[in-house]
Amino acid sequence: MLILECPYCGVKAEETELSPGYEAHLKRFGPGSSDTEFEDYMFARKNPKGVHFERWRHVYGCGKWFLAARDTATLEVFGTYAAQSSAPPAALQDKIKAKRPDWKGYK
């Protein structure tokens, strides 16, 4: 069972209180973009076997969306942060690097 701490209300919520929302930090493309940009935005996903940045919603708590860093190969949660972030916080990235020296970093 996954346990993630909601960065807004501070509750350590277990999975049944949360709703997953797949990959975070997608760059949005709309009218005026190229076909490839739009396809990437809609369908191309990193889907790494390892460190993944993703969206979650504290649906049965405060109701807010937030972001999390998690290892898809071990289910270890590295940390959570606000949905308004355009990239994972530096401190979180450092923490992941310390735990996963082979990690190629956030791209």
Binding site: E15, E39, M42, F43, R45, N47, T72
Partner: protein, 415 residues
């Protein structure tokens, strides 16, 4: 290959069954092959089999990082049906279903195909409309299915409760020729037939890199060294994105866990397969008497082959309403597999940006039933370099062009 038959059993009995030959060989890899297939699941093995059978290409290696059939092929709930809505799906799944009917004879291996009939329950008014539409579409596609009344459902499934408080049974889409087969036997039967054609099935050998030159694959790096090839077929289900990454292209695929479970064995009580898609639960009874139960996928990227407990709870909660008699059953085992989900929930059988590299993936939660049809279509693609009519619509460029094969909306659950 020595044929299996009643005479063979009698003959081997004389030597106390100690003389049976191994079903397939376990050779060391050669330096290079005409075709390498990565992944010895059902789809990879079926691809190799039809390369040999339909196109005479037998200088083939199937490379598997674990043991053959140890991925989703050995983890699924074995439902076989072809009652899809869209024409391209109906064509390939019906081809597969029809190949299942003669598979035991074709492979000289008992895959225990059991066309016992399959029901998809309608439990909302939306589903009634949806399944009636599917029944009409199937009539046009030449797939025989019918819409049946709740009373007929009760005749076919005496243990069902028609008027559950939340989700009453309002009718069903019935495919009398749908059913189940023994999943391991499908993998083993193909492996034995491939080995008999002189193909190499190389287990415990992980592909760790794909080498290419001038836009064409030259071979693969593996845990047993470099192996060269003229053509490469990638058929690795949950790890498709990882192997595509080695070859330098991206796929619209995400990996999530799907779980299943079986109960303690009980006396025969249900001789059809029942799917309840609104509540995400389905059930059949195995030959051993276990109730085989499956549900929906977890909602997050996962490579661990284990899922979340609350999904199992959800599935059982829903099924107990429809099958009250299972509420006292003990569950024996539960497991998970990593399924490859595409953007439109339909599979990919496609050329790739590399000229001699082909991909077969995205079967997600419902590809066991497709194994022979998918292998048939993939073998044609690999042999000719161009897709035939079965594979054409499943190319990976459909996501750019917006030509989806949208079964997810049609089926809800895709087993």
């Amino acid at each position: 290959m020595k044929r299996y038959s009643v005479f063979a059993i009698a003959k081997e009995a004389l030597s106390h069954h100690m003389g049976w030959e191994r079903a397939w060989a376990s050779p060391l890899p050669k330096k290079s092959y005409d075709v390498i297939i990565v992944g010895a699941g059902g789809h990879g093995l079926a691809t190799a089999f039809y390369l040999g059978k339909n196109y005479g290409i037998t200088n083939v290696a199937v490379i598997e990082k674990g043991w053959l059939g140890g991925g989703n092929t050995g983890r699924n709930t074995t439902i076989i049906r072809s009652n899809y809505l869209q024409d391209p799906s109906a064509a390939i799944y019906e081809k597969a279903r029809s190949l299942y009917e003669t598979m035991s004879q074709d492979l000289n291996y008992n895959v225990m195909f059991s066309p016992r009939g399959l029901l998809m329950l309608a439990q909302t008014h939306h589903e009634i409309r949806g399944y009636q539409r599917t029944a009409h579409a199937n009539a046009l596609q030449g797939v025989s299915t019918e819409w049946i009344s709740p009373q007929r459902v009760k005749e076919l499934v005496p243990i069902i409760s028609l008027d559950g408080p939340r989700y009453p049974v309002l009718g069903a889409l019935y495919q009398a020729r749908g059913g189940t087969a023994r999943h391991d036997a499908v993998a083993w039967g193909y492996a034995r037939a491939c080995s008999a054609m002189g193909m190499d099935i190389i287990q415990q050998c992980e592909v760790t890199g794909v080498t290419s030159e001038g836009g064409a694959v030259t071979g693969v790096n593996t845990s047993k060294g470099f192996i060269g090839c003229k053509k490469l077929g990638v058929v690795v289900a949950g790890h498709s994105g990882q192997v595509a990454d080695m070859a330098g292209f991206r796929l619209p695929v995400e990996a999530v866990a799907l779980q299943a479970l079986v109960s303690e064995p009980i006396k025969p009580c249900m001789d059809v397969v029942v799917m309840a898609n609104t509540v995400h639960g389905y059930m059949s009874q195995s030959d051993k008497g276990e109730m085989v139960i499956g549900g929906g996928t977890d909602g997050f990227n996962n490579f661990t082959q284990r899922g979340s407990f609350h999904h199992i709870e959800e599935t059982l909660r829903a099924l107990i309403e429809t099958f009250p008699m299972i509420s006292r059953l003990k569950m024996l085992r539960q497991w998970g597999g990593i399924v490859d989900m595409t953007g439109d929930r339909s599979p990919i059988i496609s050329k790739t940006p590399l000229g001699n590299c082909f991909i077969n993936c995205g079967w997600g939660t419902g590809g066991f039933k497709a194994i022979p049809g998918s292998g048939w279509a993939m073998a044609e693609l690999v042999a000719k370099g161009e897709p035939g009519p079965l594979a054409e619509a499943f190319n990976m460029w459909r996501f750019k062009e917006g030509q989806f094969i949208d079964e997810s909306v049609a089926a809800g659950v895709a087993h």
